[in-house]
C-alpha cells in the first residue's frame, strides 16, 4: 500500500508544481502590464542575470567550441571532410549548444540565487510585509526577474555563439593547422541567420522564462525555515535544468 501511496503522492506533487507554475505565469502576465513599472529594479536584475553571467558564458562556450572543433576534426578527417568542421561548429553552437549550455549555466548561477533570495524573504515574512504595504509581490519581485531573464538570455547566447565559434577557429586553425580563410568561409557558408541563429535566440528567451519562473515559484512557495530555503534552492536548479532540457526538445521540434 505504501508503494502506491508514494506513487500517488509523487504524481500529485508533479501536478501541483505544474499548477503553481502556470498559475504564477498567469499572475505574472497580468501584473506585468499594470503600472507602476519599476525600471530601476528591472535594470538591476538585467545586470545580475546578464552582465554578471558574462564570464561564465565566455568560459563555457569558448571551451565547448574548442572541444567541438577537436572532436569533429578528428572524426571528419576519417572521410576527408575537414573543410566542413567550421560549418558543424557554427550550426551546432547557434542552433543547440550555446542556448542550452548558457541556460544550464545561468540556471545554476542565477536561478539558485533567485530561489534563495525569494525563499529567505518568504520565511522571514518579508513577502507578507510587501503585501501588507500594498505592494503586489508578484509585480515587485517576480516580474522584473523573469523579464530580465527573457531579455538577457538571447544577448548572452549571441556572445556565446561568437565566442564558441572563435574557440572552434582557434583549435582548428592554430592547433590542427586548418586554412583560416577556408575555415571562416565554411563556417558561414551553411549558416542561415533566420533559421539557425534566430531559432537559437528564440529558444534562449524561452529558456530564460522557464528557468526564472521555476526558480521564482520555488522561492515564492518556500516553507520550513532555513532548511526549506536550501530545499527550494536545490529544487530550483534541478527542476529548472530538467525543464530546460525537456523544453529544448519540444522547441527544437517546433522551430525545426
Amino acid at each position: 500500500m505504501r508503494f502506491f501511496e508514494a506513487i500517488g503522492q509523487t504524481i500529485l506533487r508533479i501536478f501541483e508544481e505544474f499548477g503553481r507554475f502556470f498559475q504564477m505565469l498567469g499572475r505574472m502576465a497580468a501584473w506585468m502590464v499594470r503600472p507602476p513599472y519599476d525600471l530601476p529594479e528591472l535594470l538591476r536584475q538585467m545586470v545580475r542575470v546578464g552582465f554578471d553571467s558574462i564570464p561564465v558564458v565566455l568560459l563555457t562556450t569558448l571551451f565547448t567550441g574548442m572541444v567541438l572543433a577537436l572532436q569533429t576534426f578528428n572524426g571528419f578527417a576519417r572521410f576527408h571532410a575537414e573543410n566542413l568542421v567550421g560549418s558543424v561548429v557554427a550550426l551546432s553552437l547557434t542552433r543547440e549548444l550555446a542556448p542550452v549550455l548558457v541556460a544550464l549555466m545561468v540556471t545554476g548561477r542565477v536561478g539558485s540565487a533567485m530561489a534563495a533570495e525569494l525563499g529567505s524573504m518568504r520565511v522571514t515574512e518579508q513577502i507578507d510585509a510587501l503585501t501588507a504595504l500594498g505592494t503586489e509581490p508578484v509585480q515587485y519581485l517576480i516580474v522584473p526577474r523573469v523579464v530580465a531573464a527573457i531579455l538577457m538570455m538571447p544577448l548572452l547566447v549571441i556572445i556565446g555563439d561568437v565566442v564558441g565559434m572563435y574557440g572552434g577557429y582557434l583549435v582548428a586553425v592554430q592547433l590542427l593547422g586548418a586554412n583560416p580563410v577556408s575555415y571562416v568561409d565554411n563556417s558561414f557558408q551553411f549558416l542561415h541567420v533566420k533559421e539557425d541563429v534566430v531559432s537559437g535566440l528564440i529558444k534562449a528567451a524561452c529558456f530564460g522564462l522557464i528557468f526564472a519562473m521555476t526558480a521564482c515559484v520555488r522561492g515564492y512557495y518556500t516553507t520550513g525555515g532555513a532548511e526549506g530555503v536550501g530545499r527550494s534552492t536545490t529544487r530550483a536548479v534541478v527542476s529548472g535544468s530538467l525543464s530546460v532540457l525537456v523544453a529544448d526538445f519540444f522547441l527544437t521540434k517546433l522551430l525545426y
Binding site: D128, A132, L133, G134
Partner: protein
C-alpha cells in the same frame, strides 16, 4: 453557522455603522488542524483591541486574515464595511494601504537600509524625495530611533528592529494598525518602551489598533478591549479592568499563569487528537 458557542459572554455585537474592521464567522484550517473555528468580532473606529492567547492558538493567523494575507475557508472580513475577498486584486491592494502592520520579528527588507525600509511605502506611492526624507525622519523620531537611518537591519537589536518595523508601518499614515506580538522575546524595559511607543503612535495617528500578544500587562495598558483567543474561538471579550476581574476559569488561568486549567486540558486534548490523526 450561528454565533460561536462562548463559554462566558459573547463578543461585543458588531456595530455595523461604526465598525472599522469586522470579522464574521471566519473558519480556517491547515490540513486536518482547525485554527479558526467560526470566529466573529468587530473593532470600532479609533478603538484598540488586544487579542490574548497562549502560543500556537492561531493569533498570528487571525491577524493575517484581517489584512488579507490569508483567505478564510469560509466567513467574511469587512474593512470599512467592504467585504475584502469580494474585491479584485487592485482594490485589495488599495484596501491594504489603509493598514500598517508590524510583524513579529520586524520583517524588515534586509537588502535595504533602515531609511529605505521606512521610505518603501512612500516611494511606492510616488511621493517626492524631499517629502520622503522628511516623513522618514518624522517616523523614526516617533519610535525614538533618530540615528539609525543608514544602518542595515542586521546591525540592529531585536527591539530596534521592531521599532523600525513600526516606523515603516506608520509611514504612509494608515487608518488601522496591526501589531503581531510586538514585545515577545524582549526584556522588561524594552517591553515597556514598546508599549509606550504604541500608545504614542495611537495618539498621533488616531488609528484603530489590533494587537496580538500574550503579555497581560501590555494588554491592560494598550487595549480598550481585551479578548482571549483559544481553540479557534474568542472565549472572552471585555474592557481590560473587567477582563482582569473575570471569574471565567480560562481567563483566570491565563491571567494568573497557572499550569493547570481549562486551557491546558483543552490543549492536551487537541494534542492527543493530533497524534491519533497522525498515527
Amino acid at each position: 453557522m450561528s454565533a460561536p458557542a462562548e463559554k462566558a459572554r459573547p463578543p461585543a455585537p458588531a456595530a455595523e455603522s461604526h465598525s472599522k474592521l469586522e470579522v464574521r464567522d471566519v473558519h480556517k484550517s491547515f490540513g486536518p488542524k482547525v485554527v479558526l473555528d467560526g470566529i466573529s468580532f468587530s473593532v470600532a473606529e479609533g478603538e484598540s483591541l488586544v487579542i490574548l492567547g497562549p502560543s500556537g492558538t492561531g493569533k498570528s493567523v487571525l491577524l493575517k486574515h484581517l489584512i488579507g494575507l490569508l483567505e478564510p475557508d469560509s466567513g467574511t472580513v469587512l474593512v470599512d464595511g467592504q467585504d475584502f475577498w469580494a474585491l479584485d486584486a487592485v482594490e485589495q491592494g488599495q484596501v491594504r494601504k489603509k493598514f500598517g502592520m508590524s510583524f513579529q520579528e520586524g520583517a524588515l527588507f534586509d537588502s535595504m537600509s533602515v531609511f529605505d525600509n521606512v521610505a518603501f511605502p512612500l516611494r511606492r506611492s510616488g511621493r517626492k524625495p524631499s517629502e520622503v526624507r522628511e516623513r522618514v525622519k518624522e517616523c523614526l523620531d516617533i519610535v525614538h530611533l533618530p540615528d539609525v537611518s543608514e544602518k542595515r537591519p542586521s546591525e540592529l537589536s531585536g527591539g530596534m528592529r521592531r521599532r523600525v518595523g513600526f516606523a515603516r508601518a506608520i509611514a504612509h499614515q494608515p487608518e488601522i494598525l496591526l501589531f503581531d506580538e510586538p514585545n515577545t522575546g524582549l526584556d522588561p524595559i524594552m517591553t515597556e518602551i514598546i508599549d509606550e511607543v504604541i500608545l504614542e503612535m495611537r495618539e498621533r495617528l488616531e488609528a484603530t489598533i489590533v494587537t496580538i500578544t500574550h503579555h497581560v500587562a501590555s494588554a491592560q495598558k494598550i487595549g480598550d478591549r481585551v479578548a482571549l483567543l483559544f481553540g479557534g474561538k474568542i472565549l472572552y471579550d471585555a474592557p481590560p479592568e473587567e477582563f482582569l476581574r473575570a471569574k471565567d476559569p480560562a481567563v483566570r488561568q491565563f491571567v494568573e499563569g497557572n499550569a493547570q486549567g481549562p486551557l491546558t486540558v483543552e490543549d492536551e486534548r487537541l494534542s492527543r487528537n493530533r497524534v491519533k490523526e497522525g498515527a
